[in-house]
């Protein structure tokens, strides 16, 4: 029996494998030729036809799906406005702008979408599809810093521009910054710097804080910033506990808070995690407690209206920071809220705002440079100063591709007048107060990759 399987002679094996090897060797030469010849203009995915394709890569499933859905709405609206449809939104207020509302560089803006699933692997697969198959010349999106950082480094390797959507970790434009990546959204350092003085004013200098932190790059970054700024006020840190993303049930993490001697709970959570942990903390009666002779308080460093909507009653009186709020009265915000509301019947979230702005900024940079080449885009964006995008005067810093602008400190509204009227602006922290030296987070920007792909 053991001999019967040796029907295949050695000669046969060698012959066949030689043939197979020859086929294998010839394969790449033959098939990859067409693929490589696909790019023109010297940079990756240079648009050749009448359209230019942008890739919108957002979480459509997972803990950040609500933000992702709102981001996608904003992207679609931005494309409409760029192509001259609708009322133009912020195109009318954005200064200095060379956008004409006839597409970008005479090409109609088209887009492809993908689901990041809030996972680095899936996000990179989706971004690769956009670059390799759909020939997208720019990728944008976010809602998780881990994902944003992974996609940003992919875009750097591939040679396309990455316009970060909602990503709040310092690392995105700090330790993990890349020359092909740009971020309009603020970061945890700015949140801490803006919240610090307000916390001092509201809660005093003698507090013990307990941190619950989402266990990934954004959570770590947020926790560190909050710790640094509150300890500078004189606060103590009772304990910091890491919680898995998408945990769902936080009761096992909240119970120990009751006996820790802490009188402030800082929730470094976002999306559905924040909705769950905050609701449960309130259900456990934390806010009705008196500890060390003071009222127990909860702080949510990064606040968004979508999350406030999810958390319902629980958010009343809770302090946090935000990049933008739809109730701002400046003409740019009003114009954006108006066209977003007319289109979708609800005001935009801060995630939607930053994504919309990023798309316009990219289009404007391409118009200014006269090309979609990553080098041209980077040259126009670096050091670009603009206004009329809802945040007041803003600057894209050249050293780390991070935008600098005012930061809003908000509080959950005690008496909301509508289902969207959930956050009230407590303070607009001026840009000077949240600025920092680009070198403090380390990292290496490198040079723009504009090679053909």
């Amino acid at each position: 029996m053991s001999n019967s399987k040796n029907e295949i002679s050695r000669r046969k094996v060698i012959k066949t494998s030689a043939a197979a090897m020859a086929a294998i060797g010839a394969g790449p030469v033959f098939f990859s030729r067409g693929a490589i010849a696909g790019s023109h203009g010297g940079y990756c995915n240079a648009p050749t036809g009448k359209t230019v394709t942008l890739g919108f890569n957002v979480p459509q499933t997972g803990a950040y799906a609500d933000e992702g859905a709102d981001e996608l709405r904003a992207y679609k609206l931005a494309v409409k406005h760029l192509n001259g449809e609708g009322d133009g939104g912020m195109l009318n207020t954005f200064k200095p702008s060379v956008l004409k509302g006839n597409g970008v560089l005479g090409k109609k803006v088209a887009f492809v979408t993908g689901d990041t699933q809030t996972k680095s692997d899936a996000a990179r697969a989706s971004a690769k599809r956009m670059i390799e198959k759909d020939k997208a010349v720019m990728i944008t999106g976010g809602s998780s810093s881990g994902v944003a950082i992974a996609v940003q480094s992919l875009c750097q390797e591939a040679g396309v521009i990455f316009m970060a959507g909602l990503t709040h970790s310092n690392d995105t434009t700090g330790k993990d910054k890349r020359a092909n990546g740009f971020r309009h959204f603020f970061n945890t350092y700015m949140s801490g710097a803006a919240l610090g003085p307000v916390l001092e004013k509201e809660y005093g200098k003698e507090r013990r804080a307990y941190h619950l932190t989402a266990d990934y790059t954004w959570g770590w970054s947020q926790e560190k910033s909050m710790k640094d700024f509150t300890e500078a006020l004189g606060w103590q840190t009772a304990k910091t506990v890491l919680t898995p993303v998408g945990a769902g049930d936080f009761s096992q993490y909240i119970t120990p808070v009751l006996n820790s001697g802490a009188d402030v709970l800082i929730l470094n959570h976002y999306g559905k995690d924040m909705v769950n942990s905050l609701s449960q903390a309130v259900q456990f009666g934390l806010r009705d407690k008196q500890v060390n002779g003071k009222n127990f308080e909860i702080v949510v460093p990064l606040f968004s209206r979508l999350m406030a909507q999810g958390a319902g009653e629980a958010i009343k009186g809770i302090l946090g920071s935000t990049n933008w709020n739809w109730q701002l009265k400046d003409p740019a915000s009003a114009a954006f809220v108006k066209s977003f509301g007319a289109e979708y019947g609800a005001p935009p979230s801060m995630a939607a705002h930053t994504c919309y702005v990023q798309t316009l900024l990219y289009a404007n940079a391409a118009e200014m440079a006269g090309t979609f080449s990553p080098e041209g885009i980077a040259k126009s964006l670096e050091g670009f100063k603009f206004d009329g995008m809802g945040n007041g005067p803003t600057e894209y810093r050249a050293e780390d591709h991070q935008c600098f602008k005012d930061v809003l400190v908000v509080r959950g509204n005690q008496n909301p007048t509508s289902q969207f009227d959930l956050l009230e602006v407590v303070e607009v922290t001026p840009r000077a107060q949240v600025e920092y030296d680009a070198a403090i987070f380390g990292g290496n920007l490198g040079s723009v990759n504009a090679k053909a792909c």
Binding site: K5, I24, G27, G114, L242, N449
Partner: protein, 395 residues
């Protein structure tokens, strides 16, 4: 008989190789001819072939194979970070590490069979996932994932704290004086391992893996594994110790998974804990069952279908649907777009679930059973001219 089946196997292998190597050309007609998806087809094909050696042949359903996939990825990225961007050492190291890991897990979990075995493997995988996610962060970089980074400065002073997660050494590359501009990409002696080149590297390994799986399936060892599946007690009563055979199958299958994990890192040098999650373990079970457990081609077919759904169906959005149905009158088009929209885009899981149900209910042997049935249909109609009662009775 044997000569026939051997010739059939060679034919099968050659056809398989031809189909795989021409995939970039043929699959472009269904929108899947781009490098990243092709790489995924090949990589998850390898993963499923390896899984099938355990599940298809012995009937032992492991629910923790993603752990080996993840271990393979981490091992490869560490090779890139510490030694060289050449992929050969990374692949070899990953397969070895995954094999050792499988030996340890298999040694413990194979003491039980059936559902208990599945649960133990699931527990091990979930344990690995949680370890990678939190406790082992210094090696795995937690949720952010392990990535290839810039080189650490060469003139490190005595009090320089080297953080290997954020800075790389690449001793071998440095010894050969490789100059890096930015973050380097993986290569095979100078051929870059992204794009179509990366696919062909994976494809060659897929074909080799397929060949090995044919040889295993036809060998005495494979026969013994099938005997375990059909009646392990009888084997035990005849005095055969089945444990070594099972352990060998488990380790081989773990090494396949390690190879797949390594290739994931080769084509995209990033390793994340989510690769070890139980959903990833479940996915390979789905792939194998969809294609046909115990068959040779089935697992690869299942892997291709599931990855196709994940990447192509999930990307179909309203705009594409509106174009597709634009020939219809306005109202009808909106209805079609709304209904079909539920099954594509973020609804791709739903479509996949329905497909899986249909397959399990009507084709318990997977898609390969469908292929066989169609084949039988043709054979029967050609034979009906000269009826052969013996072959009819087998139906």
């Amino acid at each position: 008989m044997n000569g026939n089946s051997a010739r059939g196997d060679w034919l099968l292998l050659i056809i398989f190789a031809a189909v795989v190597l021409t995939a970039p050309f043929t699959l472009s007609y269904i929108g899947a001819g781009y490098p990243d998806l092709l790489q995924k087809f090949a990589i998850f094909g390898i993963f499923a072939i390896g899984f099938n050696i355990l599940f298809g042949l012995t009937g032992y359903l492991s629910f923790g194979h993603a752990a080996f996939l993840g271990v393979g990825s981490y091992a490869s990225v560490w090779m890139f970070k510490l030694f060289t961007m050449n992929v050969i050492p990374a692949v070899l190291f990953s397969v070895t590490i995954a094999g050792i890991f499988a030996l340890m897990i298999g040694f413990v979990s194979l003491r039980r069979s059936g559902i208990y075995f599945s649960i133990i493997t699931l527990a091990f995988a979930q344990m690995s996932y949680n370890l990678a996610y939190s406790v082992l962060s210094p090696i795995t970089n937690g949720e952010t994932g392990l990535q290839v980074r810039h080189l650490a400065p060469t003139d490190r002073g005595p009090d320089y704290v080297l953080k290997l997660v954020d800075e790389d050494l690449r001793w071998i590359d440095q010894a050969f004086g490789v100059v890096e501009d930015g973050i380097p990409i993986t290569n095979l002696f100078g051929i870059k391992m992204s794009g179509f080149e990366g696919f062909y590297f994976c494809a060659v390994l897929l074909i080799i893996g397929f060949f090995i799986s044919i040889r295993i399936s036809r060998s005495n060892f494979g026969m013994m594994l099938r005997a375990i599946k059909s009646n392990q007690n009888r084997l035990n009563y005849t005095g055969i110790n089945t444990r070594p055979y099972l352990l060998a199958a488990f380790v081989i299958s773990g090494m396949y998974a390690g190879l797949a994990g390594s290739l994931l890192a080769v084509t995209d040098p990033l390793a994340g804990a989510e690769r070890m999650q139980w959903t990833a373990s479940g996915e390979v079970v789905l792939m194998t069952i969809t294609g046909g457990a115990g068959t040779l081609i089935g697992p690869v077919l299942g892997a291709t279908i599931i990855k196709y759904f994940e990447n192509i169906f999930s990307a179909i959005n309203e705009g594409i649907l509106q174009n597709l149905f634009s020939f219809m009158p306005e109202g009808l088009m909106d209805i079609f777009v709304a209904v079909v929209g539920m099954f594509v885009g973020k609804g791709w899981h739903l479509t996949l679930g329905l497909l899986f149900m249909v397959i399990v209910i009507f084709l318990p042997g997977g898609l390969m059973e469908g292929v066989r049935r169609i084949g039988n249909l043709f054979r029967r109609s050609s034979k009906s001219a000269a009826p052969q009662p013996s072959s009819q009775a087998a139906e």
